[in-house]
Symmetry: C2
Amino acid sequence: MSDEATILPAKPSRRAPADRRPASVTVVDVARLAGVSAITVSRALNTPEQVSPGTLERVREAVRQTGYVPNLLAGGLRSNKSRLVAAVVPTIAGPVFMETIQALTEALAEKGYQLILGQSGYTDSREDALLDALIGRRPDGIVLTGILHSPQGRRRLIASGIPVVETWDLSDDPIDMLVGFSHEEIGAAVCRFLHGRGRRRPVLLSGDDARARRRNAGFVKAARELGMDWDAHHGVPTRLVPAPTTLASGRSGTSALLQAHPGFDAVFCSSDLLALGVLTEAQARGLAVPRDFAVMGFGDQHYAAALHPALTTVRIDGNAMGRTAARFIVERAEGRAVEERIVDIGFSMVERDSA
Amino acid sequence: MSDEATILPAKPSRRAPADRRPASVTVVDVARLAGVSAITVSRALNTPEQVSPGTLERVREAVRQTGYVPNLLAGGLRSNKSRLVAAVVPTIAGPVFMETIQALTEALAEKGYQLILGQSGYTDSREDALLDALIGRRPDGIVLTGILHSPQGRRRLIASGIPVVETWDLSDDPIDMLVGFSHEEIGAAVCRFLHGRGRRRPVLLSGDDARARRRNAGFVKAARELGMDWDAHHGVPTRLVPAPTTLASGRSGTSALLQAHPGFDAVFCSSDLLALGVLTEAQARGLAVPRDFAVMGFGDQHYAAALHPALTTVRIDGNAMGRTAARFIVERAEGRAVEERIVDIGFSMVERDSA
DNA sequence: ATGAAAGCGCTAACAG
DNA sequence: CTGTTAGCGCTTTCAT
């Protein structure tokens, strides 16, 4: 070939890295093939409007031929934009946060961001290590889902300067941005709803976690105001089961309540799964819902409507929460100021047959 | 200070990057504070056994004081080890893969790896874009969960040179490594189990996805051999519902089967959720399980044992699958050769009351 | 519209 | 055990 001199032989680097994977294609390879400089390749891919149509086509062809996939680690390092968002959940095994995580993942993918996942467990112990591991990736944002973090964690997060969105809760002083709802209000609303249905002797069956306890508190307060604290010793009898809740703990909890506080006419559960447990135990004992007692769940999982009887529950728009969190972070990452940084997405009562 | 010359004033960089976040602490800052070089800080953190105890302590103290969190993008770029693993799932909304993903996340976190998540949806269309986005992060491994990928996707994956683990399935020619089980065998085993229980007129209620269809095929084949293809027109009547399966489609599917193929004495469902739908519909109609017909699920979700009647189902050890996948990838990433690259983790029948 | 040079923060390679 | 130097692959800045 006559023009081989224009294609400089790769200058052998002083030291060859040891156990690397087959050296992958880089911008330079693509640039060489397209007959342009590296930066032009970069622009063709990131800001095509800055490149002439002809060049654009040649670059794209070169990308196709080489199978080039940009190294986002390198790009992220230089541009200080990782296009990575970290999400922290207690555990993905609980179905409660799944809708939020799914919406988040989708909404972010649409904008070219990926999600990296961290499980904090229900304990604070490894939380610090987890946060460091995530912060180390220099994500463009961190989404905290249903988490009560330690004070150190808070400080570390603030110090990192990374945009943070807290979800699934409302707080007086959020770290940064927030999209959630009031658990106290839900408890109160459920109590009033049951009162309106003529129920006067409610009990609580609840997972032992902070947010559920706040719903319980809201319920108890409203019950007192409405004169529904019927049990001499306990006001509103409450049975706590370990978090995360299960169908099994719903059944055993029901048995325990039936024994310790007979005569209740309504159960408010901290999750739909728990409510399904109550329904199951009632059925196994030949009790009829809602005739013998009403049952209310929380979460409006997809199966709630199809249960028999159909479950009356509280709907949280996890999808909206995830999408809003994604929007917040993307706007921040793109330099736009987020006007509203605190959003109460509320909740709604879903009236069906069980109450 | 007399030795200020030894600490070179930071040479003002030729150009100050524009809209960066508050410049974070770097190895150099820590090194300066600890009175050592950058590489020593790096070693103190990554290979502490190569550093003398005294130095180690000073570095650690400096890290503490500065709040230094290593930039893993930079480290990954240089070392060609991202300590990132990508997982591809159809959707995280289906509870089936959650156990696998959770185990994967945990096992990886223990080894200092993080998981990045991609949802392929149940369609192949965006699969290529998704793969590129993930490959761009240069993960140390990719875990494919319950996915039948397009030929291009396969090629791209192979070309990337990244270790791949396929899960939830067995395949004749895996891309790379594999940990799964045989869906055909499960179908056959379930059929034989029902036959052993005296059932002779089975039907299939199944989500419309590739793996479920393979279980069905295994079932139908065994049924033919056992003379259980009782329906004149259909052999083993089959009702397909859209994937992902739901409780509601379990109920409606049951209704449809009851109408179109009355007289069946067993239902094999492609998921526990579907089975729960069958149980629910039966209960709503006053039918008794297993008296009127037996019900079998698939997956052994945590709630299966607590249902009424307790659900007989097929257990898949998602936890083991996730941990094995993690082990494969970590071993590869650490340069060790993986001896066994194909593992059949099998399955087990869980006999309970519904069949 | 395109290019040259520099450097993001870290660690591999080599040297003591 | 510790340090010097270079460079991973990309994009920012400045220049044309």
